[in-house]
Symmetry: C2
Subunit: 211 residues, 2 copies
DNA sequence: AGAAAACTTGACTAAATGGTCAAATTGCAG
DNA sequence: CTGCAATTTGACCATTTAGTCAAGTTTTCT
């Protein structure tokens, strides 16, 4: 569809740049509206082109959506793979929580994109969840299990612990309107600082190996 | 539109029953598809009537949606108001977590309905969040603050603690496809039991007053 | 029974929206 | 400059879907 054999000349780079700008615009629209409420018209407008032009670069709405998901997936998983078995468990987990929370603050659209997709039954990334994601979680769960076996962490189900961390960190991006309503006038920065302190206090104390 | 002055005869009861059955059907559809992907046709079909008949009972799609939200709101908040200031803090919080988790298991559609609504920016319940919900949270936060002041609970931000509990419990309903993918072949009952054990272990240990 | 009110629904309309297409424009290689 | 390929887009088409309506059917009341 795109490839012409051989040396991949300028054109390709232009196309890639254009597609990237469409994907960027589409991330905003899909994450705010969800798949069905998002319109190609809005995405095209956000990207500064016409709808017909957008459809010159992508075969259809679903293709744009998949491209956005793919573009965001790798980035979103990155921190999970960062647990170092040789490190101090509470420190590693604390760093993981902080990183994930930071991502919720800096890239809320990415978080909401996945929230929408999974809420809708994960029609587009179901395979990814059962494959690569599960494998990654299994691997990290093994690291946590190792720490528990060494007595360096309280004995809890590693997979549920991982999901617990996902839940509390992503909550701040996904359910922002509720968070804002409940916290009232607190400044945004203070909000994330307070969240970090609370999460770390409860999680790290709760996971400290029992004497 | 509906009211005829005076003694509210049989008709009203029939109407109420019909509206209730529509609301019940609509909860399923809205919670699975979100507002825009849900169609009146599907809701009517789920309620066993024609679309035109549905529109005889409700003036439009949005009215059905609002009715579903109102019908679900009170029920969903119930457990929050159950924190007893006179009780043992860790016990009260443990009971709250268990209740909320139980609701996620028994009424996942209700949880997903709110998740969708808030993800979409809470267009329909924004006022509720900033009003009644915030007040309820403030009240419960005061109870928690009291416990902390008495040294019966570790010092954490009460509002963030409440949101932390919401996040981890609702996660199991809202992001079920991801939970299923990550946990693999575990049976559903075992899944919730394991979740409860992990959440209670971490939260209660993490909130125990520091010696 | 008979009239009136409540209810039901098939058929329709209007608007939104994903996708197509042919004609115009732009960029570039020879 | 010339011509070809890539790009852009306005106009258009087809489908979906919220909402209307008139013509029925059922229920209730006297």
């Amino acid at each position: 569809m795109l490839g012409h054999g051989g040396s991949e000349p300028r054109r390709t780079r232009i196309q890639a740049a254009k597609r990237a700008s469409i994907v960027k615009a589409a991330l905003e629209v899909f994450s705010e509206a969800g798949y069905s409420a998002a319109t190609l018209e809005r995405i095209a407008e956000a990207a500064g082109i016409s709808k017909a032009s957008l459809l010159y670069y992508f075969p259809g709405k679903e293709a744009v959506y998949v491209a956005v998901l793919e573009d965001t997936l790798a980035f979103w998983l990155e921190p999970l793979a960062a647990l170092d078995p040789a490190g101090e468990p509470l420190e590693e987990i604390g760093r993981y929580v902080t990183t994930k929370l930071e991502m919720s603050r800096k890239r809320p659209a990415a978080s909401r994109l996945f929230a929408n997709e999974i809420l809708a039954g994960a029609p587009a990334i179901g395979g990814f969840l059962k494959g690569p994601l599960k494998e990654l979680v299994d691997k990290e769960a093994a690291v946590i299990s190792g720490w528990i076996a060494e007595g360096r962490l309280a004995p809890v189900d590693p997979r549920h612990l991982i999901m617990m961390i996902w839940a509390v960190t992503q909550h701040y991006a996904d359910f922002d309107p509720q968070v804002q309503a409940v916290l009232g006038r607190e400044a945004a920065k203070r909000r994330f600082a307070a969240a970090r302190e609370t999460l770390l206090a409860v999680l790290l104390e709760g996971l400290r190996p029992r004497g």
